[in-house]
């Protein structure tokens, strides 16, 4: 796991309280959005549970003993959802999928991978995709499935499920 480069805001106590001023809040949430996405990308975090938010260092800066409250985390995730970078997994909106690439982007990345590795018109397993050394390394199965569904809609791929797991066939 790579060391995390925290932005200056991370050591700035008011950053951990949602600001009432509209303009300030907009800037703050924007910073949070970047921070969460960077964090998730470098640490390969695909699922965030709001209730366990303070277990993640991103929401809990022990150095200045400040953490983001679950409500505030919810607000931040709401911002992410608007840009297609997050999606609640249940009705109570406690578990979230984080997409540091939007699903459309993921779909294109996966398809490009298939093209680059001459995987068109052949099947490959999810494990094969996730063990790629590039961007796709360690991609969450659920995220991958969703990205492949996007490709299915574009008629560029088809998911097939066997008892031992799933695979996908790419089409040119």
């Amino acid at each position: 796991m790579a060391d995390i480069q925290w932005p200056w805001q991370y050591s700035f106590p008011p950053f951990f309280t949602i600001q009432p001023n509209v303009e300030t809040r907009r800037k703050q949430l924007d910073a949070w959005r970047t921070l969460v996405l960077d964090y998730c990308r470098t640490q390969k975090v695909s699922v965030i549970d709001v209730r366990e938010g303070d277990l993640l260092p991103v929401f809990n800066n022990t150095a200045i003993s400040r953490k983001l409250s679950p409500e505030a985390i919810m607000t931040v995730l709401g911002v992410l959802q608007k840009t297609g970078n997050a999606e609640p997994l249940d009705k109570t909106r406690t578990r979230w999928n984080i997409y540091w690439h939007t699903l459309d982007e993921w779909a294109s990345i996966v398809y490009k991978w298939a093209q680059d590795n001459a995987m068109l018109n052949t099947v490959c397993t999810f494990y094969e995709i996730a063990s790629d050394s590039g961007d796709l390394n360690g991609i969450d199965d659920a995220v991958l499935t969703k990205a492949l569904k996007v490709l299915e809609r574009r008629q560029q791929a088809e998911i097939l499920t066997l008892e031992g797991g799933s695979g996908v066939k790419f089409f040119s």
Binding site: N121, T122, V123, C124, T125, Y127, E128, S131, R153, Q155, E158, L160, L162, G164, G165, G167, K169, F171
Partner: protein, 227 residues
Amino acid sequence: MGMLFGKPKVSRITDHDRAVLQMKQQRDTLKRYQQRVEKLLESERELAKRLLSENKREHLLVSLSMFVLTNNYDVNHYSKAKLLLRKKKYQTEQLERTEASLDTIEKLIQDLEYTQIEAKVIEGLKVGNVALKKANELFNIEHIEQLLDETKEGIDKQREITDLLSGALSSEDEEAVEAELNELITIEHQKAMDKLPTVPSDELPVTVPETKEKDNLPTKKIALEAQ
């Protein structure tokens, strides 16, 4: 269309694909197993190392304090480390076996995928063949002859038009010109004839018999000599 109405479109996945996927899954399982064993090996090696180094420390303590009971502990550590190393050996062998089966399975996958490619190639050849046949049908001889005839006609017509446009004469015209020329020539000839002095109509002095005799003499002579 199908995707608009959510109708299940015809699946483009064949049984072959399924088979390949199954093989690939086996391969992934093997790979994962390999990873697991490798990790285990690494951690156990670390453990054995630690045990040995701890053992040394204990040993040092023992020699310092002369505490006899730790001796027992000492042996325990040694045997544990040995056991771990034995386990490691076994796991390494296991890893090699995994490697071998991975190799087999990967070969098989490659073969499967290659047959698919081959099938595609054959399909391509077939398509090419059909296309060629079709193209050849287009080129049947009669058709070509007809085509050539038509082209020739066209060319002739074109030539005629060009001749007309550039003022050249057709063969009929040519004949007419020829006739006119002949006429002129005969007229000229007539004129020239008219200008000539008239042929005298008087009879010439008769010298013909004389020449006849002269002519006959040598032949007689020759005949005599032969007798």
